[in-house]
Symmetry: C2
Subunit: 412 residues, 2 copies
């Protein structure tokens, strides 16, 4: 069935990348609603964080040198010059032999460069303390700008905003952020046998699974998915639908068409839409072999297999990176960053040299090791996907793996 020699997943992605034009649109959102978006531009801090030398302990702010040599038997005696209150400016400046009461988080008086923990002081009277242990300059404080300094890159362009990035941006006073406007992903199910999930299928009919699972996958990685319904294996109707969809979306996903005739309809429609059209028809991956990859007017168009599992796997491999990064990984190493778990497979699995396999696995931990149990069951069954924690990769260089071999796993 392949019009071209079957490419690997990475080669297929590179083919798409050579022709696609992924738009970079921005929008501005309040920091509070920014979770999961990708930053559109570098964010620089307008201020030092913290804005002052800050105590990390309850104790006394001092000049460190005034405590040098202090010990329990020979304390350093200091005058209590005042008290620091949270969130307040400090009056007076440090001088030889002076100490200020200071709470955790308080601002060090001018000239003080360390804090003595209250545990290492003894109060002799209301005006005098003895320090029983020396402190080094900088001890028990965070210096002005030590967390984030003025003009410093707080969060880099392209980073996905997690809760900690929200925190860092808040610290830098950035409460509205310019983010990349998510890619819009059009999702079309094809096939004369497919009916809406709300309907009761008649003889020979099946419910539309892919619209839901692909919608969920696109939404999970931050895209703006759009369900465009079910279209039968009809050249004219599919072409009409695609023509309207392609002007309104950044990426177009067709799924369905596992039979030769059906795949032909999708392929012919895609070819008719514009250049460069179909780049490959069939990739050396399992599941997901009969995938069509195309670019039309700069927009990636994917013809995913109708099998729900194959469709999800190919979506994970070829559409997810595009949504998450706005581009394809540069290298196998970058591609594999998305497979953070390493585990020992618990069964022998066959593969074919030159083909990359992705095996559904469930994970368990035993004696400090992570074990990946292949999920059994026929490959087309959606239930096997619901029972899986991850996808384990068998690289195309191998003809299989043996129980105990380590595999890289993407959590799904």
């Amino acid at each position: 069935m392949e019009l071209f020699k079957a490419l690997t997943v990475l080669e297929s992605c590179r083919e798409i990348a050579r022709h696609m034009i992924i738009p970079r649109r921005s929008k501005t959102v309040p920091l509070r609603d920014s979770l999961g978006y990708r930053l559109f531009e570098d964010t620089l801090s307008a201020d030092d964080v913290p804005g002052f030398n800050r105590s990390t302990m309850d104790g006394f702010a001092v000049r460190a040198r005034d405590t040098f040599g202090a010990s329990e038997s020979l304390p350093a005696y200091l005058d209590i010059a005042g008290e620091v209150f949270m969130g307040k400016d400090v009056f007076g400046a440090a001088g030889p032999g002076k100490a200020w009461r200071i709470p955790t988080g308080g601002m060090l008086p001018q000239g003080c460069d360390a804090v003595v923990m209250v545990e290492y002081t003894e109060e002799l009277d209301q005006r005098t303390i003895g320090v029983t242990r020396p402190v080094a300059p900088g001890e028990n404080i965070v210096r002005r700008g030590e967390d984030i300094s003025t003009g410093e890159l707080t969060v880099a362009r392209g980073r996905v905003i997690r809760p900690q990035e929200m925190g860092a941006l808040a610290a830098a006073g950035i409460t509205s952020v310019k983010v990349e406007d998510p890619l819009s992903i059009a999702i079309i199910s094809t096939g004369d046998e497919v009916v809406d999930a709300e309907k009761t299928p008649g003889p020979g009919q099946v419910r539309d699974i892919n619209s839901y699972s692909l919608f969920g996958m696109a939404a999970r990685v931050g895209a703006a998915p759009r369900l465009c319904g079910i279209i039968g294996d009809d050249y004219r109707r599919l072409k009409e639908a695609m023509e309207s969809v392609i002007t309104e979306s950044d990426v177009i996903i067709l799924s369905g068409g596992s039979s030769v005739g059906t795949r032909d309809v999708s392929a012919r429609v895609i070819e008719s839409l514009g250049n460069p059209g179909i780049l490959f028809h069939g990739i050396s991956v399992k599941p997901g072999k009969p995938t069509i990859g195309a670019v039309v007017a700069g927009k990636p168009v994917f013809g995913l297999p109708g099998h729900p599992v194959s469709a999800m796997v190919v979506f994970i491999l070829m559409v997810e990176p595009l949504i998450r990064l706005g581009r394809y990984p540069d290298s196998e190493d970058e591609f594999l960053k998305d497979f953070p778990v390493t585990a020992a497979i618990t069964r022998n699995l066959r593969s074919a040299a030159g083909r990359e396999d992705f095996v559904r696995v469930s994970l368990r931990h035993q004696d400090g090791k992570v074990l990946a149990d292949p999920v059994l069951g026929k490959s087309g069954l959606i239930a096997t996907m619901a029972n899986a924690d991850g996808l384990a990769r068998i690289p195309h260089s191998l003809e299989g793996i043996e129980a105990g071999d380590m595999v890289r796993i993407k959590l799904i």
Copy 2:
């Protein structure tokens, strides 16, 4: 500072669990919008999936026994009785020596029990094929109900809905789902020094980081967070705020108050609200030691440290499971399920026996191994959190770990 002996994280969670009453409210959402919710009840399939014996190949539907003994030199000859069309009922029934043209996904005629791939047939004329290889009963087909059968549990109560669960539910015809109404989490920042992130801090003041990072963390795991603003270290004002918040929220998070005085205000307010009140004050964890845990009127109340990193770590350990599961993990094993990555730490790290440490790490892969580099920098700095991929756990039984030791990691 501890009013009680410091508990471990798990012991602390158990203390909270003994007194808390977590509401189970449901709401119904369209399947399309169900991503990330937890199912409120078991979902049973009303139908068989697929609803008919279905071909997984392009070829001919046959009675397997009619092909037994067939070979290239001695093909089994069969009459072409008709053609199966996608999504259509089939007319006629199988009889000895009959075959139907069938596409992948097509419905097998009554009495057929296997499909011969087109590659293993030769068409002699329009009415006759030769089968050159036998098929076993069930070969190249998915049987009716083999994916999901009528009355079968499709997705169990309590499961978080991922894209594959959306697909399985769609397959079973369940297009609106009863899900658990997310817990509402009230988030209050305390401290005289804390100002809104939109403001430029004056001398001694710092911006409110925790409201944003905790809001993000709660939202990420599917809770309904509510920002309740910043309240100074004022007993009356904090008590008023807490009294109103506690009636409207399921879980209450205070953060702030790393100094003794500030913590006292939070503690006194929590104690004043009702029974059983404070259950522990200080846990044996780093960072996050000065955490207050309380239950008031069945609702968990957490007094998190003011340090942004400590607050996030304790949130991850003590609040996240509650949001994700609606309860605390039953065992250390279940607790550790949330730490799916195992990696080799790349530096020696000290800890204290009896204390559990959580170390920010960045991950890299090298020679088939996962390496965890501790993120350096003072522990209170939010920037260290933004540079981290995960939290590595040093169990309380250890006094430290050495470079090369394996650690469990939660991705953050």
